[in-house]
């Protein structure tokens, strides 16, 4: 009985930790975490289609940094793709730090306009989530 109870408690604790990892509501001041001008944080939850799409207007000649933090799954399970409005892929430069469970992708576009960001969770796991932080790193004069 004791074993069952402790297993249940452990599972509950693990569940609570998993949820806690990805909520923006943790009130962390992300703006001070990385270099550049902090623009926005997004909580991305795994949807039915496994992929979440954001449409965003990006400006040319600006280097944006997209940090992925607090994932409820290994960071390597989360992939980011970017395309322009015609769905042509936009190249990304990405660094993954598995130890810190953090990844960052740098993005610079040649034309100001609407772009699509696709965040894909490799393994289907309901309620998986991650926080995406958008920073503006450098702006050409």
């Amino acid at each position: 009985m004791k074993t069952i109870l402790s297993t249940l408690l452990l599972l509950l604790a693990l569940q609570a930790t998993a949820n806690a990892q990805c909520a923006i509501s943790e009130k962390i001041d992300w703006s001070k975490e990385y270099d550049g001008k902090f623009l926005k944080d997004f909580e991305v939850k795994q949807s039915d289609s496994n992929v979440t799409r954001f449409s965003i207007i990006l400006r040319k000649d600006i280097r944006y940094a997209l940090h992925f933090v607090n994932p409820s799954t290994p960071i390597s399970n989360i992939k980011l793709y970017v395309s322009d409005k015609e769905e042509y892929p936009v190249p990304l430069n990405t660094q993954v730090d598995s130890e810190k469970n953090h990844s960052v992708s740098w993005l610079k576009v040649n034309e100001t306009g609407a772009y699509h960001l696709y965040i894909e969770f490799n393994e289907k796991c309901e309620n998986d989530c991650v926080v995406m932080l958008l920073y503006l790193e450098e702006e050409e004069e």
Binding site: L39, R53, T112, N127
Partner: protein, 289 residues
Amino acid sequence: MNNRIDNIFRDKVAELDSTPKEVQWTPEKGWANYQQTYSPKRTPLRRFMLIATSMAAAIALMVGFAVKSNIFAPKVIVLQNQTDSITMQQLPNGSKVWINKNSSIAYSVRKSGEFTMDIDGEIYLETEGAAKAPYTLRAGNAIISIENKAALNIKAYPNDNDIDITVSRGSVKVADNILGQGLSLLVTKGNYCSVSRTNSLVFATSNNNPNYLAWKTGNITFNNTPMITVTEVLEKFYGQDIEIADDTIAYLSFTGTFTNLSLDSILAAIEDKTAIKATRLHDKVIISK
């Protein structure tokens, strides 16, 4: 008047019959010189030009005055909701607008059908049928264009960082007036768009907030929602500070639907369904184990 002056001048010149020998001047030369300088020929064309120029100048003055006085601008109607409940109005173009507490709109309709509306606070708008001309809504630096039947919620409180547009029917185009109206995002049913007031950031994604219309419907829904999000929703809806005293309950999930209930009734229902307590302390509600 000019002719009289001319005659006087000609008489005076004629009286000058004696001039010194060294002066090469005669009354005839003087008269001719005067006429050349001061009396240009008034041909019919010149007269016409003079009248036409005068009339054009008068019209330009009148138009300038009319533009400056906004005589040609359509009448702007301002609706402010300073009551303690939401109000609904039907607009002259058939659209319906719900205005939240402490919110206001200012709209105008031109004869061409062009409809513009400025929004301050929170509204829900339902437009009817295809518009003769695009509807333009302005909320802070967000510009929203509607061309067909659509329904959308716009939250644009001056103290909020973002302007949120949630589309529940049809589609709209959203732009930032700092980036320019040519750069817009198409936001379709079931999606929402956020326009930053400070960062020139415009993004759109699927709407995951089931309570965006709670202010209008009175319905609040939680579906496996972490307690920290539950308290945030209740804080905003009831304007009441709610604090979670124990971090271990922040991520307990809660499911329930409430319609037009008081905060105390909702807190009592949460207490019934979970192992948490809600206690009022001074101006706050404290959530604890």
